[in-house]
Amino acid sequence: MKILVLGIGNPILSDDGAGIRVAQEVGNQLHDPQVTVAETSEAGLRLLDSIVGYDKVIIIDAVQTEKGQAGQIYHMGPEDFSFAKHFSSPHQINLVTALELGNALDLAMPQKITIFAVEAKDITTFSEKCTTEVEQAIPKLVKMVMEELVG
């Protein structure tokens, strides 16, 4: 089975780099030839390019929700983002649309996609460090990703 652990974010934009930090730490702890650990700052169609050909994909990213508390961790599937398809402009391409597009074009799409996300506090200040709340969540996220890989 080909597995991809994909950290998404911007490593120089405070908490936005959390996903990449988690992926890097997972990469340090893991030595499994079946698992590829990668990072990207892209989404949408480029995300589709990244995940094609893998059986299982674990995505880690930072999010900002309306009522979330900084450092809060979410464990989700792509279906949790399906609201975006119906409540947003049809002209952008989101994760769900990208997956549907991949299926429509008969690309080798993953059978399972798991998303771990952490609620970000600051994603507008250029810094290589996360805020304290998000920093504290990173080891927990690493543990959750490692458990997901075993499970």
Binding site: L45, A84, S88, Q92, N94
Partner: protein
Amino acid sequence: MKKIMIDPVTRLEGHGKIAIFLNDDGSVANVYFQVPELRGFEKFAEGRPAEDMPQITQRICGVCPEAHHMASTKTLDALFHVEPTSAARKLRELLYNAFYVTDHATHFYILAGPDFIMGPDAPPAERNILGVIAKVGLELGGAVIKARHDNHWVIQTIGGRPIHPCFGLPGGVSKAINEEERTKIEEIAKSSVEFGKLSLKVFDDIVLKNKDYLDMVLSDTFTHRTYSMGLVDENNKVNFYDGKVRVVDPEGKEFVKYAPQDYVKHLAEHVEPWTYLKFPYLKKVGWKGFVDGKDSGVYRATPLSRLNAADGMTTPLAQEEYEEMYSTLGGKPAHYTLATHWARLIELLHAAERMVELVQDPEITSTDIRNIPTATPDEGVGIVEAPRGTLTHHYITDERGIIKKCNLIVGTTNNYAAFYMSVKKAAEDLIKPGKEITEGLLNRIEMAWRPYDLCLACATHSLPGQLPLEVTIYDAEGNEVKKLSQGI
């Protein structure tokens, strides 16, 4: 009219906002536009070795890292007073044109395509890439995905990494390509030319042969007579990678042509109290407000502006299309904002043709790819044409090459004033007293700004992966009448 001041501190919540205020009679009173402000890049860069800048600056933007990498690399050439070798220059330009093919294909098929292929009044659930593919067929959808995938392979092969290249160095690049790689790139380049031709045929069939669409393209609602900016070579032909910045006035007459290091003499930034945005304008014309015309310093730097600012294309098929476009639009320069989509496809074809020229150059596999800098660094400016506009990097260092100051004019920002004017004009023309504000009407207002391919930097990559932008219409009492959101 009820006056509502928007406090940027309380109004900004991490996404772009357009607020349209109506008068008592339902006509448009005013329009405001805000985007989130990213803080502290200059401070972040200060104290770092200049050689790190091609890696750092490409992280600013989730949409066009290759453009920042290239502008930064060229800035390092200027900073260290070193010219890249001829082969290195060609490798850079080859990668950059592959990037143009991917970026322009994405914009046209994903962002712009649904407006025309599905129609502005199609239900939102159908007005997306899946609807487009359902209508035009899986074959074209597959061609889009293939063109993107193949050209990303080119970027990775030349640039050393997918998405974030790591090959740009002062005086050259870090690796050469071998004959096997060259052969594969040549195949991809030729296939991209066919893809470019196919895309222009799609545009011709779907937009130009539809009288309603062509009327919309040529309508006053989507027209602004501004100055046009673009990078040109020594013959005033379009070049994405190198050259001088040429600006033509609304009649098409050359206003100025400047070398990168002179940009501060020609550009200034206007500030409004209601937004963090700074609006660049032509310093020698001056800021006269958000107005069209020769007396207004507002300019545009879009695919159409680049074609307006140049005397033509250097490649044969793109030149033919260039002539065809201006013939159809009634001459040059053209100020029809929606024709930007057409210009974008001509640029896509040009980029693919240029790839073929470069990859067939015997020097492209040369291993003479680096001139080692020997001069003391001090100050440098580098400019490329990013897909969304002229991109300028400017660094000042100490004698060790440590950044003391940096300034960037990002592609998108060039168009902020015109973007604002386009939204305002479309809103004023389309929202009328007594007329219901429908989804289709709001989508037509969106169509006024979509050609600019506005990029809100970091925000574009965050889950669920959309550019967060919100349009709210308020009545004369300040009550929300209608809201349109994307990616929020």
